[in-house]
Subunit: 409 residues, 2 copies
């Protein structure tokens, strides 16, 4: 019986606080500005990927959530796989001639996201990070996550930031070949584990503009984007890194919200204009603004920071101690289907219907927004800062003995 | 029986295509950038003002739509009235000692807007222009509209543009005292009478941020506004003036929409962010974008240009020949209360219910937006480019013999 060459890894989602919007090289996926994100806990949201190399395989093949995902020649998946094979050859096989020539074998890859696509959470970041991490284990590469981030970046730009846990910067770099456009860790998960996140999944009946085509339209038509790139982002990257290292939530929140606003501002300054936020998104902003106003009026600092990616979903960053109050506030305006909320972090022990917890803080000006019907915010996901990609055991592998996904076998 | 010193004038509304947003001097109302607008026909929308000077009056007094509007010392109304009195004294009384000393008498002023405040159309522009125009006639001033615009500007910035008909630029000027921050006519109404406008009055249940406080927050907090002021607006002012002179609707439309987008982008880049457009506004944008795409795909140019001020209402500029098609398109997505539309320009002769006219152009992708319920767009107002302030007859005056508004007398 021959050895099976296989590895399984999981990787986290990340949500940027300094936004990536615009490529200077669309093939290599080199951004027009640096960005910075918080890696979310993969105990809650993750992609899991198993990769196997076998001399009997006839083609590189990939299944996503049990369905074949075509690997197009010259496409992003093909680029990531061939780059990983190149590393295997250069770093392992060329140096140690006794190692099996895995780089010349075809691979089968099965990947699975544990969160519904309908949630509107970008799965490409965790997906490409898990792909690259599983291939790195399969190929026994002993390279840093930053090196792997160079390859994940070519799958999906923001995927490079999911190679690290904690707080992660994607440095835009200057090399036209992209060798220095990579992710680095600003601070690990353990530095500031009190950083929690509440994802408000917002319904939208409009078809959004894809981020790939949207960002290039902004690059081509927005007069304001160039100012953002040259003058605003560099200063904010430094300031928010400093705030993270100092665990200064107030500053972290102000910069996070300003940068979310500015990303949506340059999207709006595009021809034709791009809108990702809708009236529900705007309402959540109004709630967070009033919540922070109240805190400041009582002598405190900002206690919540909203951020929006290329869709109407809100992610609210807040310290652990304030999350319960924020959930209660959001539910006051956006009633939930009973029993929908998974209280994985034990905020409401003993409670079965989140709506019974609805409550606005004392002194909160309830007139800042109107109350919505059940369903406007479809669900709430409570999570926190998490670690980087994990190597999983063979028992957790997604491929059956025959080299096909277990779900198909 | 003594002479009655009284004059009545009406003045139009104007809707900017290059937006005014930000003051460099809040007392003198000096803007951070130049702006440009189209004056709308006062046959449809107007403010009418009667001013009377009388030695028996004890105070300067003003009634707006029949209600007393307090003239606060040092306020904008008081400034406009005292500046007009100053002109009367300097230009008339000091030079012709036989002229009555009207500048030393108190005035009674009655003003009336023929459009509902609920329509969300800024009435301050037409209101201050009518005030200044009626006082200019009362005081027998023979000064140019640009000189009067210097005074109207101090009542409400955009009011200075309502002193002219046609296409009007408000030149920001450089003098710290404001002597060169005035309106000039780029082209008269007769130059391009085919320029029509469709105002879509949009419901909103959110209380908006006032433009006075909103624009100053943008000046203080938006990193993008400075780039707009220095680099974008100067170029656009030149380009749109050229397009107007060449009657180049395609270029006019592109710049108009880009500048509306950018104004809302800098509002969004403000802390906390300012939103004036809602989901209905966004939908009207989607319709205009698709309508133009279809025209371009058929070898034509842009046929419609949306613009939004500090509220959710859309103003769609279009040439006369396309207005009917645009009304039919808007009504397809936003059904109207029957008999609400006043077809003052005779688009639909013989038709009594606008909804029976709903129709999308052939080839229009209907999936770009969903259809709304009656009431989302409360009403449609069809109008066109118009003339500047008009002197009206005494019969049209708003003050009764006793010096009080006729509505009260």
């Amino acid at each position: 019986m021959s050895t099976i060459y296989q590895a399984t890894a999981s990787a986290p989602v990340n949500i940027a606080v300094i936004k990536y919007w615009g490529k200077r090289d669309t093939k290599l996926i080199l951004p027009t500005n640096s960005s910075l994100s918080v890696t979310l806990d993969q105990d809650h949201l993750r992609s899991t990927t198993t990769s196997r190399a076998d001399p009997s395989f006839e083609h590189d093949q990939l299944w996503l959530n049990g369905k074949v995902d075509e690997i197009k020649a010259g496409g992003r998946l093909a680029t990531c796989i061939s780059e990983m094979k190149r590393l295997r050859k250069e770093l392992v096989e060329d140096k140690s001639p006794n190692e099996p020539k895995l780089s010349s074998w075809k691979v089968h890859i099965a990947s699975y996201n544990n969160f519904p696509t309908a949630a509107g959470l970008a799965s490409s970041a965790s997906g490409f990070a898990a792909l690259v991490a599983s291939l790195a284990h399969l190929y026994a590469l002993t390279v840093s996550p930053s090196v792997l981030s160079l390859i994940a970046r070519q799958g999906s730009g923001s995927a490079c930031r999911s190679l690290f846990g904690g707080f992660v910067a994607w440095q835009m770099g200057t090399d036209p070949a992209g060798s220095d456009s990579l992710a680095v860790q600003v601070a690990p998960q353990e530095h500031w584990p009190q950083m929690h996140a509440l994802i408000c999944v917002v319904s939208d009946d409009k078809k959004g503009t894809s981020s790939t085509s949207g960002m290039q339209r902004t690059v081509e038509t927005s007069a304001l984007l160039q100012h953002r790139i040259k003058h605003v982002v560099p200063e904010r990257m430094g300031a928010i890194s400093k705030a993270i290292l100092a665990k200064d939530f107030d500053t972290f929140a102000k910069i996070t919200m300003a940068d979310s606003n500015q990303f949506h501002a340059v999207a709006l300054d595009t021809e034709p204009p791009i809108f990702y936020m809708n009236d529900v998104s705007r309402t959540i902003i109004a709630l967070v603004v009033e919540y922070n106003r109240l805190s400041v009026a009582s002598g405190g600092g900002y206690k919540a920071a909203y951020t929006y990616d290329a869709g109407p979903n809100a992610v609210i960053y807040a310290l652990e101690e304030n999350i319960k109050e924020i959930v209660q506030l959001v539910v006051s305006y956006f009633p939930q289907k009973p029993h929908e909320f998974k209280d994985v972090l034990g905020l409401f022990t003993g409670s079965t219907d989140l709506n019974t917890q609805a409550k606005v803080p004392e002194g909160f000006n309830e007139a800042v927004a109107k109350r919505f019907e059940v369903g406007a915010v479809k669900s709430l996901i409570h999570t926190r800062v998490g670690d980087g990609p994990r190597k999983l055991s063979d028992q957790e592998g997604l491929l059956a003995e025959n080299g096909l996904p277990k779900t198909l076998a």
